[in-house]
Structure formats: C-alpha cells, structure tokens
Symmetry: none
C-alpha cells in the first residue's frame, strides 16, 4: 500500500480509498476484519487519529462496522457497497474529464484518444511498480 503524505489528496482519504478498493476487489470479505487502527498507523507511519478518521468515514458509508474491543469488520453488504461506491467514483472522474473536454471544445474523437492515452499511461505505471 502506498501513502504519499506530500500529495494534495489528504492522507485520511488515501487510506479510506485504499481500504474501499481493497474490499471491492474482494481482498477482505464480509465478516472479515480489516487491519487494526494502531497496526495500520504504525505500518504507514501516520497519526492514529488520521487512520481513525478514515475508518469513521468507511463506517458512515456502511462498509464496515466496529465491534468494541475486537476491531472493524466488513459488513454483509460491505462488498457490494464498496463496489458501488468505487464504480461511482470512477464514473464521476470520467464525467468530470468529459465535461472539461467538451467545455474546451475538444472534439469527441479526440476525447477518445485522450482516454486511450490515459489508459496506456496507467498501464505503464502499473508495470513500473511490478
């Protein structure tokens, strides 16, 4: 997992996004526990309050549920919720891009080209990490 404290995206959001994507991808299944607050804070070398804030948001989304003294557990509908949320985020990012493109007078074919270009650049990133 990669947390970059220098990015403009706040740390707590990076954490929440990461957990949500992980649940959506099926790494943590309904009923399973996600990493404990303190363990994750230690691993990422961030303030426990920051992790807490991320976990609060996930709980508000209904993705996980805290059981006192035990930890945070993925809810039964958690996987589905995570998938829906994640897909909505993806759609929203695409919509923002398309809206900006049309406003700038970029023609539809060129918008598709931009999409392909973005795709390739992401694939290159992924390969570089591996």
């Amino acid at each position: 997992m990669n947390i970059d404290p220098t990015m403009s995206v706040p740390i707590y959001k990076q954490i929440a996004d990461y957990i949500r994507q992980t649940v959506a991808a099926g790494v943590y299944r309904p009923g399973e526990m996600i990493p404990s607050l303190r363990a994750l804070a230690l691993q990422l070398k961030v303030n426990p309050n920051t992790v807490q804030r991320a976990y609060e948001q996930l709980e508000r989304e209904g993705l996980v549920r805290s059981r006192k003294g035990l930890g945070m557990f993925v809810t039964q509908q958690g996987a589905k919720t995570a998938q829906t949320k994640s897909e909505a985020a993806v759609c929203s990012a695409f919509a923002r891009g398309i809206r900006a493109a049309l406003a700038a007078g970029i023609q539809p074919p060129r918008v598709l080209t931009a999409f392909e270009k973005a795709w390739e650049s992401v694939e290159t990133e992924v390969r570089a990490q591996a």
Copy 2:
C-alpha cells in the same frame, strides 16, 4: 457559466478552469482582452479578490498577460497553452478514474462501460441546459 461554491474545488480554480477552457475553445483569441476583474466578479457574484486569484494563476501559466490600467490580454501562445493544459487536465481526470477502477478490481470491459455511462450522463446534462 456555472460557479458552485459548495464544491470542494475552490472557486478561484473553477474560474481559472473556465477561462482556460474558454480560451482553448477560441472564444477569446490572442491579443483580445478577457473580462475585467470587477465585471466578472459582479457577474459571478463573488469577491473581486477571488477572480484576481484566478487571473494570477492564468498569468503564471502564460495564458494571459496583465497590463495595468488596461486589462488582461490573451498572449500569442495563449490559445495553444490553454489547449495543451486543458487536454492534460482531461487526461489526468481519466487516468485517475482508470487507476481507481483497476485498484478496485473492476475488469477492463467494465471500465469501458463506465466510460460510456459517464459520456451519456454528460450528454444528458448538456441537453438539459440547452
């Protein structure tokens, strides 16, 4: 033009993006003046300082050049700069979406579906405005 003060994107950035897209679309051509600080502030019902901040950023990007007592003028390379910047913003939005999709374990075909869905939703918006 639509400014939404409730969005997380700061107002001054929304204004800068709007002007940049406008220049990219050829509404204001090199050598022409963009709306005066106060005029735009009145129209958008925001503080002149906020518009100024947007204009400062555009000047830093080399899109416009300010002349005291006269106004802000689109530079010769302004149109090209605006197009490049705008396209980069579009690509970046797409890349963000794709990255999030892959992280959430969404399969490539479904990513394309999401893109098409986003496209349609934007088209619906545009029609609604017209």
Copy 3:
C-alpha cells in the same frame, strides 16, 4: 529580518526573498520546517494572508512543500533551487544596473567604480547593523 512596507517592492515579495535567501544560506535545510504562517505574521507584524502569499510563491518555485496540519517543509532540491534563484536575482540586478549605465553613456571604468562604491556602502550598512 527587515520588512519595509514603504518600499515599492511588495511586502509578500520581500518575505519570499528573505525566506529564499535564508534557505540558500542553509539556515533551513531540506526536510526542515520553515516558520508557521501565523508565527511569522506575528513577528513581522503583518497580516497572515500576506505571509501566505509569500509561501504560496515559494511552493510554486518548488522550494518548499506544504502539508496541511503540519506546516511548510523545505524540499530535497529546495536548497539548490534557492541558491540558483538567488544567484539569478543577483545577476539580474547587476545586469539592470549595467544596462542603465551604458544607456546613460557612463564609461566602463566608471561603471566599475560605481560597483566598488556600492560594495563599500553595503559593507558600511552591514557593520552598522552589527
């Protein structure tokens, strides 16, 4: 540090120049935090917004990086950037003087004399402060 609000150079630029020189001189090293907005504003008796404006410029130059909730930190290449920028500013001031001198028909030997005179006057200032 001396801020002179009566000078034609805007205060926020004086502050930015001061911090840049400080970083160039090695007072703040890469990874270290520069004074907080409010602290510096109090010390200089200026509005925090004015200091912020200076800090924004330094961040744009890549000298520092802001982390919300923590402060502004000198980047790894910050020291080098600061030195380069500072030296460029010095050269530019000299060039402006030389250009003015030649335009006024001052002969090269007298330009050198003027430079020596300026040097002595600065040394006198420095001694006076100490």
Copy 4:
C-alpha cells in the same frame, strides 16, 4: 527607442528613464528642446497622458523646464542632474544585488563572478540589437 508595454516597469517610467539617460549621455544639451509631448506619444503609440506623466517627473527632478507654447527644454544644470541621477540609479541597482548576494550567503568572489556574468550578458544583448 524601445518601449515595451508588456514589461512590469510602467511605461511612463520607461520613457522618463530613457529621456534622462539620453540627456546624461549628451544627446540633448542644456537649452535644447526634447521631443514634444504629442510627437513622442504618436511615435511610441502610447497615450499622451502617459508621456505627460513622464515629463512631469523629469520637470520635478529639475532636468527640464516647460515653456508654455514652446515645449520642454533641458535646464542649464540638467545634464549634470541627469548624470547624477543616472549614476545613483546604477549604484542602487548594484547595491541591491550585493545585499541580496550577501544575504543568500554567496561568497564575495562569487559575487564578482556574477557581476562579470551580468556584464557579458548585457554586452551580448547590445551586440544583438546592433
């Protein structure tokens, strides 16, 4: 004569500086008339008010004196005044550079190097114009 309306130096100051340097260089001698307000405005394609402002400043400096209906004439002590003023401006530019250099921890030998570099760059400019 070169007036650049896009520069940060205000136009009226560019004009005043130019005339002052010209007088210092002996192009216009005491008792001679400098170009008429309207003629210069036409030639430089600037607002006559702007030229007027430059001329007002020169008159305040005691460099020229207006004779109603005739024009602006270089005063008897005008040449000397212009030379003094010009030299002071040169010294001041040098002093600013030296002050910035010392503040940035640049060692005296390197300051001299910067001065030589500036000199060469100005000479290159001059040759390019010719």
